[in-house]
């Protein structure tokens, strides 16, 4: 039976355990995760250090296999070794340190590495490399040496390398942790564009709450389990709970929350400077009008 589904990633009761160094204690990095990610979604995954979020991400392209439960990528079970290559072509991964992901001496060779390995014909590789570099805005650096690029540029080359494999989904594991503010912006703009314009499913793992707020949906992992799963507004307006989970909310969201506690009635779900400024200039005008009436 050919099951057509809108979900590109489905995990069912996913458990991943490993034994501690002395082999005595069984640890569960993932303790029963049920998650579905639809085609074209932009999902952010957040959680404290050691919560299991990277372990989860590594199940999405079969770098890790479940101890029990199942992971299906585009309907393919990751446990079945025959699916391995098709799964890796479906889901591409980008990691934290750009320097560990560079394999060649020029940008175009680096991007071509994946499709070459797949045995894609040279003309087609050429086409894919050009297109992938265009998508990440790095075409003019085609013949540059990757190690001389900035951090943000290196990460965009790493993303292009993944794109050249024609994946349906990209999983990025803290791709901006080592970048400066403009590098972060470059990478996030690229990721957003790929999601909106090319329809590529994005799973972004991050410690930066303002980045997570860009997602259509935020999944919060703690102690190997999903503890929250909702749109960013609903997640970050629960300031106390988020902080108990060792996470944080964007500064403007925290400020909106604090102001409410002090009696200023404004929506608590502002995520950006613009949104909070709108809300505050509204109540400022009201308070000015009120004072005329006094």
């Amino acid at each position: 039976m050919n099951r057509v589904s809108d979900e590109i990633i489905i995990t069912e009761n996913l458990v991943y355990s490993y034994s501690s160094e002395d082999q005595e204690i069984e640890m569960q990095a993932l303790a029963g995760v049920n998650l579905s990610i639809a085609r074209g979604e932009f999902v952010a995954i957040i959680g404290r250090n050691g919560s299991g979020k990277s372990t989860l991400a590594k199940h999405f392209n079969a770098l890790f296999l479940p101890t029990s439960g199942t992971v299906r990528i585009n309907g393919m079970d990751t446990q079945d070794p025959r699916n391995l290559w098709r799964i890796r072509q479906t889901v591409g991964m980008v990691f934290q340190n750009p320097d560990n992901q560079i394999v060649s001496t020029t940008v175009e060779e680096d991007v071509a590495f994946g499709p070459e390995n797949l045995g894609v014909p040279p003309d087609e590789i050429r086409r894919r490399v050009n297109l992938a570099l265009e998508w990440v805005g790095m075409s003019e650096y085609m013949r540059h040496a990757p190690h001389l690029l900035s951090g943000g540029q290196k990460q965009r080359v790493a993303i292009a390398g993944v794109l050249a494999m024609r994946p349906k989904c990209i999983v990025l594991d803290e791709p901006t942790a080592m970048l400066d503010p403009s590098g972060r912006r470059e990478v996030l703009d690229t990721v957003k564009r790929l999601n909106k314009e090319e329809g590529i499913t994005v799973v972004l793992i991050t410690h930066f709450m303002d980045e997570a707020a860009l997602g259509d949906r935020v999944v919060v992992i703690d102690q190997g389990k999903i503890v929250m799963d909702d749109v960013p507004r609903k997640i970050f307006s629960q300031v106390e709970l988020i902080r108990q989970l060792h996470l944080d909310v964007p500064q403007v969201t925290r400020l909106a929350h604090e102001l409410n506690k002090s009696g200023v009635t404004i929506p608590e779900d502002a995520l950006t400077v613009e949104e909070l400024a709108d809300a505050l200039s509204g109540s400022y005008r009201e308070s000015a009008v009120a004072s005329y009436g006094e």
């Binding site: 050691g50 400066d180 410690h207 060792h246 200023v264 400024a277 505050l280 400022y284 000015a288």
Partner: protein, 288 residues
């Protein structure tokens, strides 16, 4: 302990096709007891600059003074300079190597030939200063600890050398928000309670706003701003030229001011923003 650099320049690979000027004619002074942040994009020269503070790099032009002594002058031992100015690199936990936490932190003090009881004292003290439990952790392998703990072990290794100045390069990167708050609180404490002069290099403007009293901005190897944190985060054009952005709350206040709300814009933290907005909404400073 003060650090002063005068017309400092550093050019890598001079006279070759790879010649690159990483620090260009920078003059600055960090006074004893200050908490200073250095910000700028990757490649702006921050790392090159701070490696001059304890003589890891030799200037290709200009001079470096630690406590008014030219560290490249005749008869100056760089070893003593390096004890005075401790450098904590980015991801310092990658440099842990010993079998136990104690041995790792003791490596530096032992290396300079201190007697065992002094080494013990220093390790215990350094661990306490960064909030690590001496008895519980001394015999543990550093590799079994959490990310935040490992980083603090690495910091303790620098502190055990009893420097007066600590230079930290991105001390909180890669940590979750809670771990980040903890490490920053330790650094704050090192400054306030133990009197260290602190130089913080960071890409997180929010952290810089919270901690530093003074901020220096590097851009393309040049120092383009040096002033109080409030002043520097108010310089929107300088920041954007340097590829940086003030913290979210600061930008919010700037935006409110643009919309004719009479708010102060030199706001650095959520707490300050809250007080200022309450003041304005409460009646004072209203447009008449």
């Amino acid at each position: 302990m003060s650090i002063r650099v005068e017309n400092l320049s550093h050019t890598y690979n001079p006279g070759t096709p790879f010649e690159r000027c990483a620090v260009d004619n920078v003059t600055l002074e960090i006074k004893d007891g200050e908490f200073v942040a250095i910000i700028g994009e990757t490649g702006s020269g921050k790392s090159t600059l701070i490696q001059h503070f304890n003589g890891l790099l030799k200037p290709t032009g200009g001079r470096v003074f630690v406590d008014e002594v030219d560290i490249w002058g005749k008869g100056v031992h760089l070893k003593t300079v390096r004890q005075k100015v401790g450098l904590v690199f980015q991801y310092p936990e990658h440099q842990l190597f010993e079998e136990t936490v104690f041995k790792d932190i003791a490596f530096g003090p032992r290396n300079i030939g201190l007697p065992d009881d002094e080494v013990d004292r220093r390790v215990e003290q350094a661990m306490k200063m960064v909030g690590l439990d001496f008895e519980a952790l001394r015999d543990r392998s550093p590799f079994e600890l959490s990310g935040g703990e490992k980083r603090r072990v690495a910091m303790a290794g620098v502190i055990a050398m009893k420097p007066s100045v600590i230079v930290l390069d991105e001390p909180a990167s890669g940590l979750d928000p809670h771990g980040r708050d903890q490490v920053l609180a330790e650094i704050q404490q090192l400054h306030q309670e133990f009197g260290f002069t602190v130089v913080l290099v960071s890409h997180s403007m929010e952290d810089v706003a919270k901690l530093a009293r003074r901020v220096m901005v590097l851009h393309k190897a040049k120092l383009i701003a040096d002033g109080s944190t409030r002043d520097v985060f108010g310089m929107e054009d300088v920041l954007s030229k340097a590829g940086l952005e003030a913290p979210q709350v600061t930008r919010l206040m700037q935006e409110l001011a643009r919309r004719n709300m009479k708010v102060r814009t030199d706001i650095l933290t959520v707490e300050e923003a809250k007080r200022e907005i309450l003041r304005v909404l409460g009646g004072e400073g209203r447009v008449s």
